[in-house]
């Protein structure tokens, strides 16, 4: 049995949390921005900004974990040091739309602004006559994408009941089972050696970019149902992820000509099911898909190839091994971890980042008295690869966001890629 000094002010960081902290460090070095993302709620009426700001301020103070910072314990294990008693800091800004003005360009500007020091959440409300967009900027060191959705669900429950659900995000230091971690590390090392073998490096025009462009695509319920029906016939039951990845690869291949194999890292959610205990911090890992360029335009065969890689990596416990092996890196300082992450790829990079979150963990139909029309994400991504394709779903409607660092794609390439994605799905 593992002994650990229990304290409500201390939450040990997992290996994946430490990797996310390293990505935050690297993002700050590369772009001046941290590793954060935006969740956007589109509401069907005008949200009262003042009332929202008051309510969210009270609600956030029920969760002192949002005041914390990274620290190191006497056993060198990194932990999140909760500064109980401090008020949770957050930013809130509001902007009313002028007639003929659109909300999304304003939100894209917000998405490119960093968080203030000591803040992990920031809100930007854009209101029209009968509509509102609430953009929630969240620091990935504290929330992953599914976590922030579940957190806003808790907030909506709080608005309805005036009771804040208690959450104690405890995690043991995990300074045990070293043999298991080292074996996982060995497996990960072998996996990466095989993965990167013969991979051509990709040159990034966007390496100096300090801003990101977003192209969100929204599909209504009918179009989404048609896309799911197509995924069923082409990839099989519950195989939407390989289907969406296949369509993304085919679109990328047509719109952005590139040589060599495609390598795509894919986020996977490791939560058993959404629970309050897993709202804070990161509960994810990664899978890596490599596809020969000649394979990309083989239609349904590509879906089958990706499904097979998915199966083989799950069987080989790649995502579990990565999570285990990452635990070994917690001893290393963040600059070293960031350098090690680059080393795993042998200085080479993925073609683009991809994720499919599945049905939103925000299960409510309303938010602060306004009906929710849609929810989508505007994530920032590391400059390598500098391009991301992210699928989410809310209320049976599919959303897709194409994100790219300025310079990683030209505007014409991005528009062509978005059009290809629309055509292929």
């Amino acid at each position: 049995m593992e002994w650990f000094p229990y304290s409500e002010d201390k939450r040990y960081l997992s290996g994946i949390d430490w990797v996310i902290n390293a990505l935050d460090y690297k993002s700050r070095q590369d772009t001046g921005l941290g590793n954060f993302s935006q969740l956007v709620l589109e509401l069907e009426s005008k949200l009262d900004g003042k009332l929202f700001c008051e309510k969210i301020g009270i609600f956030l103070n029920h969760y002192p974990v949002i005041t914390g910072r990274v620290s190191r314990d006497f056993n060198f294990c990194p932990y999140w040091r909760v500064e109980s008693g401090k008020r949770v800091k957050f930013s809130f800004a509001q902007r009313a739309l002028n007639p003929e003005e659109e909300a999304l360009p304003l939100i894209f500007v917000f998405a490119n602004a960093g968080l203030k020091a000591g803040e992990y959440l920031s809100f930007f409300l854009v209101t029209g006559a009968n509509t509102s967009f609430l953009a929630v900027k969240f620091d990935h060191r504290l929330f992953d994408a599914a976590g922030i959705e579940a957190f806003l669900s808790l907030f909506e429950e709080y608005c309805l009941t005036q009771k804040a659900t208690p959450v104690t995000p405890a995690l043991k230091p995990g300074l045990c089972a070293w043999g298991k971690k080292f074996i996982a590390g060995k497996m990960v090392n072998r996996f990466f050696l095989k993965l990167r073998k013969g991979l051509k490096p990709i040159t990034f025009a966007g390496e100096a970019a300090q801003a990101f462009n977003f192209l969100p695509l929204f599909f209504d319920a009918d179009k989404s149902a048609a896309i799911y029906a197509r995924s069923l016939s082409e990839a099989g039951y519950l195989m939407f992820m390989p289907f969406a990845l296949a369509k993304s690869l085919q679109s990328m291949d047509k719109a952005v000509k590139r040589d060599g194999d495609y390598l795509v890292p894919v986020n996977v959610n490791l939560r058993p099911q959404s629970s309050a205990e897993s709202i804070f911090f990161n509960h994810l890992s990664f899978l890596f898909f490599r596809v020969n360029r000649s394979m990309v335009n083989t239609g349904t065969q590509l879906c089958r190839e990706l499904a097979l890689q998915f199966f083989e990596q799950t069987k080989a416990k790649v995502s579990d091994n990565l999570a285990q092996a990452a635990g070994l890196m917690r001893i290393a300082p963040l600059p070293l971890v960031a350098a090690l992450l680059d080393k795993f790829m042998g200085g080479k990079s993925a073609a683009f980042a991809f994720s499919y979150l599945g049905e939103s963990a925000f299960h409510k139909k309303s938010f602060c008295g306004c009906s929710v029309k849609n929810i989508f994400h505007l994530p920032l991504i590391p400059l390598k690869p500098g391009i991301g394709i992210f699928f989410t779903r809310y209320n049976d409607c599919l959303n897709l966001t194409l994100v790219y660092a300025k310079g990683a794609l030209s505007e014409a390439q991005a528009a062509a890629l978005a059009q290809e994605l629309k055509n292929n799905l």
Partner: protein, 84 residues
């Protein structure tokens, strides 16, 4: 032929572990996606099926009729093991 009810029980038990819910809560005739399964958890289940029943169902096309519920999947496994 593997006993279909035993297969159903084994599948329900594994799904409860994957999803972190009580096995008794799982409806055997409900679509797996309505139980909270997604691509990741479904593939974990297929890996379990390969280990437990020595069947690689990835190659079978994963059609909705055979894979949608615990009961239909148990039927598929029973038929496949009998045909081996």
């Amino acid at each position: 032929m593997a006993d279909s009810s035993a297969v159903e029980k084994a599948l329900a038990n594994e799904i409860s572990i994957i999803l972190g819910v009580e096995a008794a809560q799982l409806k055997h005739d409900a679509p797996l996606h309505s139980l909270g399964m997604d691509s990741m958890s479904f593939v974990e289940l297929l890996v379990f099926i390969e280990k437990q029943f020595k069947l690689n169902l990835m190659a079978s096309g994963l059609n909705k009729e055979d894979f949608q519920t615990i009961a239909s999947l148990a039927g598929k496994i029973s038929r496949e093991t009998a045909a081996k």
